[in-house]
């Protein structure tokens, strides 16, 4: 345990030094809070950009607070996932390439600690950034529109967090047997896109698919009740996350011993 904590500390320190602890939270904040602002000022923005015919009257329906909060969360569906994959793509692969991993593993460090400490350091970074960003969106939505109840905020936060964790764990998993970070990012994003596509086309048959969590969370925020399939989808995601983590350790051990 103490060994694991030391490895985790090393990872956290590294992420402070390469500024990840500064830029990732800031980018997550921007992604989330720009949504309530643009939605609130949409009429003024259109007015000042101009180009509307003389005398044109637009009645913009004012979006509900729930709708605004849900759209800010969906910002993480594309750019958020992209950033998570990009910051995770080299987490183990780069160290194996440069030989740092071999140097650490020569010492009596267990493979399990090595992989899980890396996984946990990214997990902490992503969850912290995601929480600050989403909290910002919740606050802005409250000030500009109406406050959505905090329990709905927390539940949707946890629910969508499961999907982000899934993405992160999948990328770490690819790290244990692929060596090029570019290839890892490509395969990871490709699989996520294909998974989302298939799940949304066959959403009835695949209602347990982790890729549907993004849709479920929107539904949950709008109607304040758990959609069918959301719970099972979360359970499946958490189970798959556990399996991938286990496989990561096994594959990593096998590949490192083979060298």
């Amino acid at each position: 345990m103490s060994q694991w904590l030391i490895l985790l500390q090393k990872e956290l320190l590294e992420n402070v030094r390469n500024f990840k602890w500064i830029w990732v939270p800031l980018v997550f904040i921007i992604l989330a809070i720009q949504q309530p602002i643009t939605m609130y000022y949409m009429p003024q923005i259109l007015e000042s950009v101009g180009g509307l015919p003389e005398g044109a009257v637009f009645d913009f329906p004012v979006p509900s607070a729930e709708e605004v909060l849900a759209t800010s969360l969906t910002q993480y569906n594309s750019l958020g996932v992209l950033i998570i994959v990009l910051i995770t793509m080299g987490v183990i692969a780069a160290e194996r390439k440069s030989g740092v991993a071999a140097m650490i593993l020569v010492k009596p460090v267990s493979y399990t600690s090595f992989v899980t400490s890396k996984w946990f350091s990214v997990l902490l970074l992503v969850w912290a950034s995601y929480f600050i960003g989403y909290l910002g969106a919740w606050y802005y939505t409250g000030v500009l529109f109406e406050f959505v109840s905090f329990s709905i905020f927390m539940q949707s936060f946890l629910m969508y967090g499961v999907w982000l964790t899934f993405v992160l764990t999948f990328t770490v998993f690819l790290n244990t047997f692929l060596k090029s970070s570019g290839l890892i990012a490509f395969i990871s994003l490709g699989s996520i896109i294909i998974m989302s596509l298939i799940s949304s086309i066959l959403s009835n048959a695949l209602s347990w698919s982790p890729a549907l969590l993004g849709g479920y969370v929107t539904e949950f925020i709008m109607f304040a009740q758990m959609p069918d399939g959301a719970v099972i989808s979360m359970v499946v995601s958490i189970a798959v996350i556990g399996i991938m983590l286990l496989l990561s350790v096994l594959l990593f051990r096998k590949n490192e011993l083979a060298e």
């Binding site: 390469n18 500024f19 830029w23 800031l26 980018v27 921007i30 602002i37 000042s48 780069a94 500009l144």
Partner: protein
């Protein structure tokens, strides 16, 4: 531009501030690091002129970790 009211500025200032912090941190890092992937002056221009995406690109692609 009188449609932009005071409250609007109040809402937007945090956004601008965050972008500025990102820009300053990346430029600080570009200057401090011995080497970047690609010429330093290009990265400075990218960070200054491409909003939000510029600093992200630098931190992901431009930084040398070793």
């Amino acid at each position: 531009m009188d449609v932009i009211s005071n409250t609007m500025w109040l809402m937007i200032i945090p956004l601008i501030l965050i972008q500025l912090i990102l820009m300053v941190v990346s430029i600080f890092d570009i200057v401090r690091n011995e080497q970047t992937n690609g010429p330093k002056w290009v990265w400075v221009l990218v960070v200054i002129f491409i909003n939000l995406i510029g600093p992200i690109l630098y931190f992901i692609l431009g930084r040398r970790n070793d």
